[in-house]
């Protein structure tokens, strides 16, 4: 946590570091009685990863920082991440000027305070709904071979899906489909129970709670299903990307055979 005041601008920040990525949160306050425009620059040694909507950086951001407009006495919170170690301070007020009714006199004001122009396609992307088909639909498309050949479904909910080395870690030699199949079966079992509990009546819920070793078991189930959802998404993203790459390959076997 740090605080700094520069020329009528108060800046406070916190930095969190996790796995090589620094997350910077700052709050900037305009102390003056006039609207002002301020540029905050990252001091971290890596490109700024700005907040995005539908894949497009929010307005005002570029690779070095952000330009914000502040009404008199207004405060704004901004944040970004960067793949870099944190430094103190992580941000600095690089320029601040009085906002002049949007009309900017060329040559007279600091170029670094210009907000990047908004093109119609960017406006469309930002203001209209996300075009991407939902992840779930992509999973269906790519996970058709998921039901493994041998399905030992009698395992309880402590299958190998919960430990950190889950089914994605290949421990057997060519046991990949079996491991993946087992993991998915364990997940399907948990999701099935969670589904039965969703909007369930008392009788149905009692049955599931009994099966799941009481209320503690149910709270455990909920946590696990949340983790399952995250993992399934991650796997789905990866398999979808791999499938797309696999589809776009074209091994020129005829040409190679001719050359051999």
């Amino acid at each position: 946590m740090g605080i700094r005041g520069t020329a009528g601008m108060d800046l406070a920040w916190t930095v969190e570091q996790d796995g090589g990525v620094s997350l910077v949160r700052c709050r900037v306050h305009n102390d003056e009685a006039v609207p002002r425009r301020v540029r905050l620059d990252s001091r971290l040694d890596g490109p700024v990863l700005p907040p995005r909507r539908a894949g497009v950086p929010e307005r005002g951001w570029d690779a070095g920082g952000v330009v914000v407009r502040l009404a008199p006495s207004e405060s704004r919170g901004v944040g970004f991440a960067a793949v870099a170690d944190s430094v103190e301070p992580p941000v600095e007020v690089c320029a601040a000027e009085i906002e002049t009714d949007n009309a900017r006199i060329p040559g007279e004001s600091d170029q670094s305070l210009a907000v990047p122009a908004e093109t119609p396609p960017l406006t469309a992307i930002r203001t209209l709904g996300d075009h991407r088909p939902p992840r779930e639909t992509v999973t269906d498309e790519t996970a058709d071979g998921s039901s493994g050949p041998d399905t030992k479904t009698d395992r309880p909910d402590d299958g190998d899906g919960d430990a950190n080395g889950d089914g994605s870690e290949v421990d057997g030699d060519d046991a990949v489909p079996t491991a993946v199949g087992e993991w998915l079966d364990a997940v399907a079992d948990r999701v099935g129970r969670a589904e039965r509990l969703t909007d369930a009546d008392l009788d149905a819920a009692t049955d599931v709670v009994k099966e799941t070793n009481g209320v503690d078991g149910v709270s455990d189930l909920r946590r696990r299903v949340e983790t399952d959802a995250e993992r399934l998404r991650a796997v789905s993203d990866r398999t979808a990307a791999l499938a797309a790459r696999a589809e776009s390959t074209d091994v020129p076997i005829e040409a190679l055979e001719r050359l051999a």
Binding site: P121, G129, H131, R132, R135, E141
Partner: protein, 216 residues
């Protein structure tokens, strides 16, 4: 010149119209329907690859009676598309080939909006049904916001005389009536544009009528 062929509703014949309008304009037609591509595809790279940064737009041109930029068929490919790349990709094809027709997806999400934002002008396609007209009116609003001037509306697959004046009033644009004609329906699949295949047909006349209003 970049012309968007749009219309809020699916299944009204946007792809067929886009293909035939492109033929009459001697233009390239780009399938921008990222999730439900309709124009014939090929074996090479497609628009999904371009928007994922894997291919140059020029590599995707597929020759034929009308040059086509096909679109990928997978949902994973659609998910991987970065729409911010569309403007420069279409701009590149325009510089290379002159006129580009964009076959837009249905709906009013960003995948329908961005082609309109990229286009200089637009043509709306509606079926003679009232609800299709309602969708066309909403898409007209979107085209207006995104600055794709409306040059006309094609009322497609007309069997009975449609209320042309009502439609023209609702959309504030001239209306061309494209009669139901199996040659139009088959033109994309057969890759035989009706303006070449049946130049004297009413459908071909209607398409040339639309094309005359396109600024060039």
């Amino acid at each position: 010149m970049i012309l968007a062929v749009a219309g809020g509703k699916g299944g009204v014949g946007k792809t067929t119209l886009a293909y035939n309008v492109a033929a009459a304009l001697d233009a390239v037609v780009v399938d921008t329907d990222l999730g439900m591509a309709d124009l014939p595809s090929g074996r090479g790279p497609d628009l999904h690859d371009v928007l994922a940064g894997r291919a140059d737009p020029i590599e995707t041109l597929r020759s034929g009676p009308v040059e086509i930029v096909p679109c990928g068929r997978t949902l994973a490919g659609a998910r991987a598309c970065d729409l911010t790349r569309l403007e420069s990709a279409i701009g590149r094809i325009e510089r290379e080939r002159g006129t580009v027709v964009l076959d837009c997806p249905a709906g009013r999400r960003s995948d329908a909006g961005v082609p309109l934002a990229v286009a200089d002008a637009s043509v709306l396609v509606a079926s003679p049904r009232a609800f299709a007209l309602a969708d066309a009116v909403r898409t007209r609003e979107l085209a207006r916001e995104l600055d794709a001037g409306l040059v006309g509306c094609a009322v497609n697959r007309v069997v009975e005389e449609p209320p042309t004046e009502t439609i023209a009033d609702a959309l504030g644009a001239p209306v061309a009536v494209v009669p139901a004609d199996p040659r139009v329906g088959r033109s994309v699949e057969d890759e035989r544009p009706v303006v070449d295949n049946a130049p004297a047909s009413d459908a071909a006349v209607a398409i040339r009528d639309i094309v005359r209003r396109v600024p060039r």
